[in-house]
Amino acid sequence: MLEVKDLVVTAGGVRIVDGVSFEVRPGEVLGMVGESGSGKTMTMLAVAGLLPGPARITGGTAALYGTELTEARLERIRGRRIGFVFQDPATSLNPLMRVGAQIAEVLRIHGLGRTAARRRAVELLEQVGIGPERARVYPHELSGGMRQRIVIAMAIALRPALLIADEPTTALDVTVQEQIMRVLRAAQRETGAATVLVSHDLGLVSEAAHRIAVMYSGRLVETGTADEVLGAPRHPYSAALMRSRPRIGAGRGPLPVIPGHPPAPKSRPPGCAFHPRCPVALARCAQEVPPLAGGVACWAVQDG
């Protein structure tokens, strides 16, 4: 059970994540979607305490099973209670270390003996569909898909309570994407971890996620079950996002796109950040930030 409340992340004086709250229950997959730069990665890095240099948490809390995730606590439980799968498997492994040793390392860090760790690393390799003889190869000897399996094996090694996968398939070939998602979902089901799946790919999210959170310009604009958000989005941005999604058999016409660009956090418009692009904007939208109420942050929905 992950609870995030009013999370604020600031970089260079700008709030790149601006008051985000959500929950993920055990065994549940939360799909986090939104255009590039909307703050999905920063939100999840903040939860895991892995923010890059200039970015800092400046407000809010995150708690795992009721225990607040302070920096000190995160230092102890990262890798054990929280597993992280990154976007680019080409760069997320140490090129100078055998992959088996890299999997074993997470077990060693959290107290397993050398031989036990090695044995368990081989089991994990098998669990993600890699032969045990590959434990002794180096990352450059593996394909992107294989490397991502290694990263998944490391993330689930200690059966974490929270599994975060940030665009786990974006950097991979289309043919491999499906395999990796199968591996990831199997691992998720097997460990029962509360899971956050960050992705641009609505198709992928609709298959894997129970619930969905939509982000726009550092804020959460809609949450709900996958059926609700995908089937009947209420926020004008979510609705536009769903319409822009390619569908099989939906005809050949050009995909509808949302006119305009998402704002950079430092030039975020006042009020509802979406208002310059919103087809149904009201007068107050440019002045007041709509709160997330009943799963939607929109004045038109709340007042209408």
């Binding site: 892995l50 990154f86 760069t91 997320s92 140490n94």
Partner: protein, 317 residues
């Protein structure tokens, strides 16, 4: 990857190394042979200012200097193959033994310099990177910049002045005891250690920005583990490449440093030999140094391949 291919790979690397050794040593010695023959008449020098033309001619015949150049070159190559560089006309000792007798003293200060580079330079570089904004790290970086910019004869004179003449803590010349090696080593090591500090610092600062460091942190690894176990090996190749090139530079720097401290290694011996036109000593020294330089670069290749599996694969072809 498999054990079966390891043996031929090692053999092949060994063969490449041998060819490199022969080509380098032969090239250097050939160049030296002709330069020496063009630079004046050793017979006249040996006989001295008071000698008659007959004396000079006699010495010339004894040394074979009256024969055609190509004949001399052929004889010379044959001698080199037998490691026979002739006898020093001044001491009567075989040149190669004279050089090998002095070699340990030079290896002592060059080896100590390389050891300092690794044992002091690497940790200081790590400190400078780990606490990049801290005052201690800035002091280390600034000191490294100064040490790196200072020519070693200036530094040598400075150290001599302070530690030998003013404080009297260390001997100022000679090579009788290990204490005598301290000032020459410090003089040689300043640049090397400073450069290693800067290379390690820069390499680590680059490496800790890499995604795989974040992965280590995500696994629960502490900052120290990320830095020492993961970033450091990835910062190692440029340091190694520098140390290989620098070893050759250090060997040539001993010419100045040993002279400054009257330290009896092969650097000082070489300078003395040049002034006395002692060809056998000069040639034997050049031979030994060329072999050392090739050997160091072979060791560098082996270490590089040990650290980086991608290099290992390239080397295997």
């Amino acid at each position: 990857m498999s054990a079966g291919r390891t043996a031929p790979r090692v053999l092949r690397a060994g063969a490449v190394w041998l060819v490199r050794l022969v080509v380098t040593v032969l090239g250097v010695l050939t160049l030296l042979f002709f330069l020496l023959r063009l630079s004046g008449d050793p017979a006249a020098v040996l006989v001295g200012p008071g000698g008659s033309q007959e004396d000079i001619d006699r010495v010339r015949t004894e040394l074979g200097l009256d024969l055609p150049l190509w004949t001399q070159y052929g004889t010379f190559l044959g001698d080199v193959a037998r490691l026979d560089f002739g006898v020093s006309p001044h001491t009567g000792e075989p040149a190669i033994s004279a050089v090998l007798a002095r070699l340990p003293l030079t290896l002592q200060i060059v080896g100590a310099t390389l050891a300092l580079a690794v044992l002091v330079g690497v940790p200081l570089g790590m400190l400078a990177a780990a606490r990049a904004r801290h005052a201690s790290a800035r002091a280390v970086t600034a000191a490294a910049s100064i040490a790196q910019a200072m020519p070693n004869f200036v530094l040598g004179l400075l150290l001599l002045l302070v530690f030998a003449l003013w404080l009297g803590w260390l001997p100022s010349y000679g090579a009788e005891s290990p204490l005598h090696a301290v000032l020459p080593t410090l003089t040689l090591a300043a640049f090397t250690v400073a450069r290693v500090v800067r290379l390690v610092r820069a390499g680590l600062l680059e490496a800790i920005e890499q995604d795989f460091i974040r992965t280590v942190r995500a696994k629960g690894g502490g900052r120290l583990r990320a830095l020492a176990r993961h970033a450091l090996p990835n910062a190692f190749p440029p340091v190694l490449a520098f140390l290989v090139v620098d070893s050759a530079y250090l060997l040539s720097s001993t010419v100045i440093v040993e002279q400054l401290y009257a330290y009896d290694g092969i650097g000082k011996q070489l300078v003395d030999a040049i002034f006395q036109r002692d060809y056998p000593i000069v040639q034997a020294t050049v031979f030994v140094v060329a072999v050392l330089v090739v050997a160091v670069s072979a060791i560098g290749d082996v270490l590089g391949a040990l650290v980086d599996p991608r290099v290992r694969r390239e080397a295997a072809g």
